[in-house]
Symmetry: C2
Subunit: 332 residues, 2 copies
Amino acid sequence: MAEVPTISMIAKRLGVSQSTVSRAFSKPHLLRPETVRRVLEAAETLGYVPNQVARALSTGQSGIIALIVPDVANPFFPPLIRAAQAGADQQDFCVLLGDSAENPDQEARLVTRFTPQVDGFVLASSRLADPVLVDHAARKPLVLINRDIARVPRVLVDSHTGVMQAVAHLVELGHEHIAYVGGPVGSWSDHQRRRAIAAARAEHRLTVTMLSARPATYAGGARTVEGLVSSGATAAIAFDDVVAHGILAGLAERGARVPEDFSVVGCDDVLAATTYPPLTTVSLRCADAGDIAVSVLLDLLGGRKLGDVRYSLDSELVVRATTGPAKRGRAT
Amino acid sequence: MAEVPTISMIAKRLGVSQSTVSRAFSKPHLLRPETVRRVLEAAETLGYVPNQVARALSTGQSGIIALIVPDVANPFFPPLIRAAQAGADQQDFCVLLGDSAENPDQEARLVTRFTPQVDGFVLASSRLADPVLVDHAARKPLVLINRDIARVPRVLVDSHTGVMQAVAHLVELGHEHIAYVGGPVGSWSDHQRRRAIAAARAEHRLTVTMLSARPATYAGGARTVEGLVSSGATAAIAFDDVVAHGILAGLAERGARVPEDFSVVGCDDVLAATTYPPLTTVSLRCADAGDIAVSVLLDLLGGRKLGDVRYSLDSELVVRATTGPAKRGRAT
DNA sequence: TACTTACATGCAACCGCATGCACGATCAAT
DNA sequence: ATTGATCGTGCATGCGGTTGCATGTAAGTA
């Protein structure tokens, strides 16, 4: 493998100093256009490309941002990741991806390990404690997704509106007893959805049963069905689409038809958009969250002072085929 | 923002030289265990982490590998990405993620941009031309996933066995005319599945209709249903689970029941594992592919000479609920 | 005891680029 | 013509580690 050309090789070849070559790339306006041209030309013929690593060491800017998520394979994140990467790429930044496996210690490890080599962080659904996050935000630009901490820039994928709409939709269909099948403990999203359910209950005349899928997966969702049915509810709003599908499976196993006997509403709308049966679900702007988080982070890196940043991305119910009129009497 | 601790701060604090601190991390066997302990302890309390960028500059090794996929949000990739990241992390490598948006030019751009700052590449389902890949492989360690190019290290997620099993399964159920609903043109996976179908046809007495979902998505899958049904086939094997779900949707729209009227087999088993109805599908080892690709790459970086590396990960059919006995006469 | 030997540590020179400062040249204004 | 700006470029230093070599020290040998 041939020698990689460096700045000094070009400098020598042209009889100028290294600084001149360097400036030709980073601050061309300081040089005579003619000089810039000569340098670039020489660089071209030698196949020179500025070494990002060296540049990073001397400027302290790596051009890399870190994105840490609890689980890459959770359907909520891929669109977010993709959008984040695209947004970063557009401004010539690269994305270092970390998967914390839902584990705070692992997440802390990743943050520590990434810190010296990235310009900033996007932490999605962080499992870290508030003070820890505040602390990190103090030493390195940091944007949170789905964590609401004052004075730390954050983007919230707000399911409130959508969940309220879901409840209203079910009430309209005649449901008088619904259940919420929650997700991971300590999850900001779950907490938020519970509050939305509570708010909705106050507005309508209905009974609400609060349950939890443990774990918040397909299998966990299926397992809640027993409690779901025995509670007397005729409809369920699930923490996310995966849990909703689990509920669908559990229901089918008991011979209950959807939506004739029981209605199911999901949350996320990423799985729901590409699976059959078409799931009625709360559509979340998860891709937008990634995009916005990155753009806020890059603004921060650009030195813009932004005050207390708090984006809240609204949601909406998408009615498809898993909700229908309440059945008289109990399901099953 | 607090000062980030450097090697020299620890050195001063302990009254040792920078070299000693450096070696405590990179070559601890050269130091007295007691010294190593002291250094690590001091590092711990100061929160020191070796700066990878500086290390990269002097060693020429960044500790970063690039992983480029055509579409992060395609269900096939997230498990692969997660496994790759975990594998890299385990050996203290970070993963720079790129999404090429199925676009060869974009992929080429990413490769160029990443090249100076990564130690090697994993390219999953690359859309680049063979010679281009061979070329890149010559200048930087590179492992391919789902591209079979001689002398370039590669990991193939082999659906052959699983597809053969799927056909056999359908034949056993009495199907005499099946269809394959293919995916993206130029896709190695699609090509491979077509060959498996052809091979299977030779072994059984059956009619096969070859179709394509354009694009290879949920909607594209749904659109193929018309051709599917009019072809006279009673079962379909889809390029992937997403297309399979699309077919499910298209079938339902025409009032065809699954599996009573029509059988559907997917491919991937990532979506299928978390959705209802339980899809009969060819289970692929996509996570293993990520894991293995990274470990091969790291072996390469470790200087091991491996010869012509070609991993082929076998697949198997997982029978669930979308396949059943052939219906006499035509569907619908 | 003197001398080798192996081991533990320090010194200093990089790695490739960025950048503050100094310097000479050019040019306008007085 | 002299002076003060302005502009283009070079010099030298530093970013935070790594590493070959030198040095010092303790253990081993005769």
